[in-house]
Symmetry: C2
Subunit: 118 residues, 2 copies
DNA sequence: TCAACGATTCAAGGATTATTGAAATATGGA
DNA sequence: TCCATATTTCAATAATCCTTGAATCGTTGA
């Protein structure tokens, strides 16, 4: 993740509807969600959700794939991890104490990872 | 760090000049930097840097304090750590593998923390 | 082929954000 | 007090982003 991507990702996440969408897609996992379901759950119009999905895709945070009539969107875990990494390295580069609380969260996440990863 | 703050923080970091400023302030540590120095290093006009500093402060990512004629800005480490934490918990809440790369970075940061903290 | 469904695209508007330069504020020293 | 320094505020403009509804595109089944 370079700075260009990070700037786009921060911009994408700075909007309430889009943050909500990302949350839903992360939770829904590899199965993802159809655009219509996203619109329904987020309570926004189809054209509006389409606008925000395009924005999230442009930032590389989600991917799409057509499934019959629906278009399924999935969160890009690699990009999200990369963004966290960018934030930490950018912040840790020189001063490290910012990462301490993050390390605590990471410690709480990694046990689950052992089971989740493959 | 609640969602409102996170949205503001993401918005603040989605602008090139502001990301640059945050980087400089994190590196400069508790001493911080005067507005003029920031403007000079970032190569933007005084009024423009003032605009961006206000934006960063509004998002809670930096703090200011007057020092004679200068106004010294410092990075808010707690807020930056809180933002990383928000991103991780928001992403890890349901699926954990996103945090794996972040955990790796955290592991690389924590050794330094032992010396840096106090 | 035609109709219906799921979704995107487009244009218009309104709202927010960024940049600029001039004017104003605050501080410290002659 | 007066001037210089450091910075902010303000107004105007430009640029970007968000929302809305209508029109369009691709897919499926009758």
């Amino acid at each position: 993740m370079d700075q260009r991507q990070a700037l786009a990702a921060f911009g994408a996440l700075s909007q309430e509807t889009r943050l909500h969408i990302i949350r839903m897609l992360v939770v829904s996992g590899p199965d993802g969600m159809a655009a219509g379901s996203i619109a329904e759950k987020a309570e926004v119009s189809p054209s509006n959700v389409s606008f925000h999905l395009k924005e999230l895709e442009r930032a590389g945070l989600i991917a799409q794939q057509r499934e019959s009539r629906s278009i399924i969107y999935t969160a890009n875990y690699e990009a999200l991890g990369g963004l966290i990494r960018f934030l930490m390295e950018d912040c840790c580069g020189g001063n490290a104490e910012i990462c301490a609380p993050a390390a605590a969260v990471a410690a709480c996440c990694t046990p689950a990872t052992k089971e989740e990863l493959q």
